[in-house]
Every structure is written in structure tokens, then in C-alpha cells.
């Protein structure tokens, strides 16, 4: 199908009604990709239990979204869920895994270890601070570990991004992660500034007042 999706659009486009054919082709291809994301069984630490196992088990059934067939080989998987901490020694292996996967491949970084190094940012001589230094990431699911429902929200966001994002005319160009969907007038800089101000105000704890609340003896 590679021939059709790459070579054909140039010829079909000029034909009358050709773009209508292309858009409906887009719809079909994206619908198929979005609804059958086969995850790769790749969990390094605690997120693997919550995001891969608990989400796939009976209570929070991952199969409802068609993502239940967890393939062990990267060849047949098209969704790499980075669940857990990536350390320096694991980095080249993660890159090889990503390279081995078939072309329309997506990456969800779950847990704060995969997003930014999590609790091991400081004083850890091996933890990679964020997986996006190694491989391009599509959706970030924060949490330590994120609840299975949070992972589903990430999966549904990825499905929405696939359905709206990719087109046959420009293969491989995808919507940026959810940040790109900010309402007008608000930039990331404003958000970071507001966060810094908030952190500054709530950074102190009043110990005597805490003790009075819990009726303990004075310090």
C-alpha cells in the first residue's frame, strides 16, 4: 500500500473530485490506524503495572478501544508505551526498539519518569530526564503512576490526534502534542509564569498551626 499512499496523491489531486477521493482515503486510513493501536509490551518499572497490566485487565479493559493485542515484537506493534524510568544503559535499546517498529508508529510517554525523570531528576547519575530526548513523543500522560483512566484519556487523545492530524498528502507530519490545542491569547510562557508564582506562595508550611490542628504538643 506504500505505493498508493505515496505516489498516487500527486496524480489524483488535479483530477476533478480528486481531492474528495484523497480526503475520504485520509479518513479511512486514519480511522483504521486510530482504532487498532497494538501496544508493545515494554514496561520498565512501576508504571508497567498500572498502565500496561491494570489497564489491560478486566476492570479497566483496554480491549474496548481495540488496543488489547499487546505484541511482544516491535515489528507488529505500532504504539510504544514508555512505562517507567529510562536509564542511560536502556537508552540505546529504546532507540533500537523505536527504529524496529513499522512506519506509522506512535509513542505515549506515561508517568513522570518518562516525561521528565520524575523523582530521580536530582542526584541520579543514570536516569534520563525525559524520553523525548531519545525518541519523538506524541502524547504525555502525567502521574506517578498515572491511573489507568488517565492512560485511557491519553490513548483517546492520541486517537483524536491521528484522526485529525495525518494526511496522505503530507505523510509523517502530525499534530503537535496536545499543547498545540491551547486557546488563542494564551502562551506556554504565561502558564509557566503563573505556575512559578503559585509555587512561590505555597512553598512554606506553618508547623505550629499544623500541630494545633492535629492537637499535638507544641514543638
Amino acid at each position: 500500500m506504500g505505493v498508493i499512499t505515496e505516489k498516487l496523491p500527486i496524480y489524483i489531486e488535479p483530477m476533478p473530485g480528486g481531492s474528495m477521493v484523497l480526503t475520504s482515503m485520509d479518513f479511512m486510513i486514519n480511522w483504521a490506524h486510530a482504532n487498532s493501536l497494538w501496544p508493545l509490551t515494554f514496561g520498565t518499572s512501576c508504571c508497567a503495572i498500572e498502565v500496561m497490566m491494570a489497564a489491560g485487565a478486566s476492570n479497566h479493559d483496554l480491549a474496548r478501544f481495540g488496543a488489547e493485542v499487546a505484541r511482544a515484537t516491535p515489528r507488529q506493534a505500532d504504539l510504544l508505551v514508555v512505562a517507567g524510568t529510562i536509564v542511560k544503559r536502556m537508552a540505546p535499546i529504546l532507540k533500537t526498539l523505536y527504529a524496529q517498529m513499522g512506519e506509522p508508529r506512535y509513542v505515549i510517554a506515561t508517568g513522570s519518569c518518562a516525561i521528565s525523570g520524575g523523582p530521580f531528576v536530582f542526584n541520579s547519575y543514570t536516569t534520563i530526564r525525559g524520553v523525548d530526548q531519545l525518541i519523538p513523543v506524541d502524547v504525555y500522560v502525567p502521574g506517578c503512576p498515572p491511573r489507568p483512566e488517565a492512560f485511557f484519556y491519553g490513548l483517546l487523545t492520541l486517537q483524536r490526534m491521528i484522526k485529525e492530524g495525518e494526511t496522505v498528502r503530507k505523510p509523517g507530519i502530525r499534530r503537535k502534542p496536545v499543547m498545540a490545542a491551547l486557546p488563542e491569547g494564551i502562551t506556554i510562557a504565561d502558564i509557566q509564569a503563573e505556575l512559578a508564582a503559585l509555587l512561590d506562595r505555597n512553598a512554606t508550611v506553618n508547623v505550629p498551626q499544623q500541630c494545633k490542628e492535629r492537637d499535638l504538643d507544641e514543638p
Binding site: 486510513i29 482504532n35 487498532s36 474496548r64 481495540g66 488489547e68 505484541r71 515484537t73 515489528r75 512506519e103
Partner: protein, 362 residues
């Protein structure tokens, strides 16, 4: 006497129409080929969907729900995605063999499905060596698996392929022995005649004891032949990452995936045809009233019901049994199934000679 069924296959119709008007004959042939293609595709999608839903309900979960009503379109999405996937051929691997291995497996399946007598009119071809032809053609499957495993230049797939070679070849023996018993009773190899020979009753109960034992031996051996749990060691998920199809992606993995499911259909269709009377309704000897009552249900439905139940049984195996080890698997075949098969054959032969079975029809 029971109603006699007139069997006309597509090939016969083409042969009759050939001298007079060749266009209609080629139309029939085209119908046969296209019919098989559509049937295989539709059946594959339906069975994969059924497997995922049955597995889900076995395991107290829902299975695919979001894609179409109750996930009906889920397999369509899977197949379309597999078509779109990048097709990776390993560099150091043997490219040519790697490309054609899945086609060999699929070839074996397509050739075998022609012979399956689904109902008196719904049968593409009917040769007089039916049973022999089907068991011979199903040998292509293991050829494809061996080539695929070896040419992927991957230790896991090589291990999986060697296991598949040893397993399928050895289980074909006891499968053929079980089929031979019924061939002895019905006297012919032609599948449609075998079905008609069960007009007085299905071989599973008409040959007392022998029929049931060979049915069970055939069921075990055929589950091993199509690599289904508890014999799925060629693609043992937890040991060999993905067994022989580790290096396959995209459309050619879909061929292996589909071939496995259609093989499951063929195996349960053969079991239904030989032991449960194929499309023959449930008759008991001369018991006229019951036979006529049973004839009200069209023969095609009888076939679908029997095969459907057997497919459900094979799927049920998958969700209850663990995997056998390689040596346990070989021991089961050579030390248990083979002696049982031969003893069963001898006993069956003596029943046939002395007409010791119900409603002897020779």
C-alpha cells in the same frame, strides 16, 4: 427411506456447461474462485472478532466495544491497518524466502477450503480422493512456517520454526489415523459421499466407541496441527517473543494471522464432516418421523452449527490450558496418541468386517 440429497458442486456445473456455452462455464469457475476469496476474507474477519469477544467474555471483560456497534468493525480496522503498515524485510535475512513464506501457508489453506462440503450445493469441488487431498495440502502450512522462521535471521523465529516442523509433522500421523477409521466405515474417500454415508446416523455414535475415540484423537491432533494452545509452542508468546513470525509485520503478518484462523475453520469443518455428518441432519436409522422432523432444518445450517460449535471448543481450549513443553508434546504424540490410533484402527476394521456397528449399510 430418508430423503436422498443430490450433490452438485460448482465444478460439476462448470463441466456440464462447458461443451454448450463456454462463457457460462468460465463464469462458474470465476464464481468459484471469487466465492472462496470472499468467503475466506469474511470468515477470517468474523472469526477474529469472535475470538476476541469470546476471549473477553471468558475473562470477565468486554472486548472491543468502541469501533462500530459492540466492536463489529474492529477486525476491519485491524486488517486495514495491517495493510497500511510498513512491510519490513530483515536485511541479513533471506529476502526471497521471507517474502514468499506466508504465501505458502496461505496457499495450503486456500487449496484445502475448496473441498469442504458446506451443503449439497455449496461445495466448490469434489474429487474422489477428498480426505487424502485435504491432509496432503495442509502440509503446505508447515512449509511456510519453516521457511518464514529460517529466513527471518532471528534466533527466536528459528527456534519457533524448528518446533513447528517437529510438531505439525508428527501430529499429522495421528490425525490421518483418526480419519482413516471413518474412511473405512464409509468406504469412500470422497467427502460428499462420506457425508451421505451418514444418512442413517453420524459416525461418532454409529460406530460404537471407535467413532468417539477417533473423534477425540482427531480433535487433539488437529489442535496441535494448527498451533493452537495447548500446543502453541511455535509462536509461544512468553518464551519466544512471537515465535516464527517475530520478523513479520504488516500484510505478510496478516497472512500468517488469517491462515491460522482459516486453518481452524478447515480443521473443525473436517471434524464435523467426517464425525458429525457434515450437512447431514441428525438421523437414527429407519426412524422416519424423527428423520423428517430433522430435515426441516436446512443442511447448510446443520453444517454451520456443528462447525461453529467445534470452533468455539478450540477457542475454549485456548483460554483454559497452558502451553506444553516441547518434549511433553512429542511424548504425548508418539507414546500416547499413536498407539491409541493404531488400536482404534484395528478395532474399527474388525467392526467393519463383522458389521458390528449400528445400521450396517453395505
Amino acid at each position: 427411506m430418508n430423503t436422498t440429497w443430490k450433490v452438485t458442486t460448482v465444478a460439476q456445473r462448470a463441466a456440464e456447461a462447458l461443451p454448450a456455452h463456454p462463457w457460462i462455464a468460465s463464469g462458474y469457475l470465476l464464481l468459484g474462485v471469487a466465492g472462496i476469496g470472499a468467503f475466506v476474507a469474511g470468515l477470517g474477519l468474523a472469526m477474529i472478532y469472535a475470538e476476541r469477544k469470546i476471549a473477553a467474555h471468558f475473562q470477565c471483560r468486554l472486548g472491543p466495544m468502541r469501533v462500530g456497534w459492540h466492536g463489529l468493525l474492529q477486525t476491519v480496522a485491524d486488517m486495514l491497518k495491517l495493510l497500511m503498515k510498513e512491510d519490513i524485510v530483515p536485511a541479513q535475512g533471506d529476502q526471497l524466502l521471507h517474502l514468499f513464506a506466508p504465501l505458502l501457508t496461505f496457499l495450503g489453506t486456500m487449496l484445502a477450503i475448496m473441498m469442504v462440503p458446506m451443503s449439497p450445493i455449496l461445495q466448490v469441488a469434489d474429487v474422489n480422493i477428498g480426505v487424502l487431498y485435504v491432509t496432503a495440502v495442509s502440509g503446505f502450512g508447515v512449509l511456510g512456517i519453516l521457511l518464514g522462521g529460517w529466513s527471518s535471521n532471528n534466533k527466536w523465529s528459528l527456534l519457533g520454526a524448528m518446533r513447528a516442523g517437529a510438531q505439525i509433522i508428527s501430529y499429522e500421523i495421528s490425525a490421518t489415523l483418526a480419519l482413516l477409521v471413518v474412511v473405512m466405515f464409509s468406504g469412500t474417500l470422497q467427502l460428499s459421499h462420506i457425508v451421505q454415508s451418514q444418512a442413517d446416523g453420524w459416525w461418532i455414535w454409529r460406530a460404537p466407541g471407535v467413532g468417539l475415540v477417533s473423534f477425540i484423537v482427531y480433535l487433539i491432533a488437529s489442535t496441535a496441527e494448527i498451533n493452537r494452545t495447548p500446543f502453541d509452542i511455535p509462536e509461544g508468546e512468553s518464551e519466544l517473543t512471537a515465535g516464527f513470525h517475530t520478523e513479520y509485520s504488516g500484510i505478510r503478518f496478516a497472512f500468517f494471522f488469517l491462515a491460522e484462523f482459516i486453518n481452524m475453520f478447515i480443521v473443525s469443518a473436517m471434524a464435523a464432516t467426517l464425525f458429525l455428518g457434515g450437512w447431514m441432519p441428525f438421523h437414527i436409522g429407519g426412524f422416519g418421523t424423527l428423520n423428517h422432523a430433522m430435515d426441516l432444518i436446512p443442511p447448510g445450517l446443520w453444517f454451520a452449527g456443528k462447525t461453529g460449535f467445534l470452533i468455539f471448543l478450540i477457542m475454549w481450549f485456548r483460554w483454559t490450558f497452558p502451553r506444553l513443553r516441547v518434549d511433553q508434546l512429542m511424548r504425548l504424540e508418539w507414546k500416547i496418541l499413536l498407539p491409541v490410533g493404531f488400536a482404534n484402527l484395528l478395532v474399527g476394521a474388525s467392526f467393519v468386517i463383522f458389521n458390528l456397528y449400528f445400521f450396517p449399510w453395505h
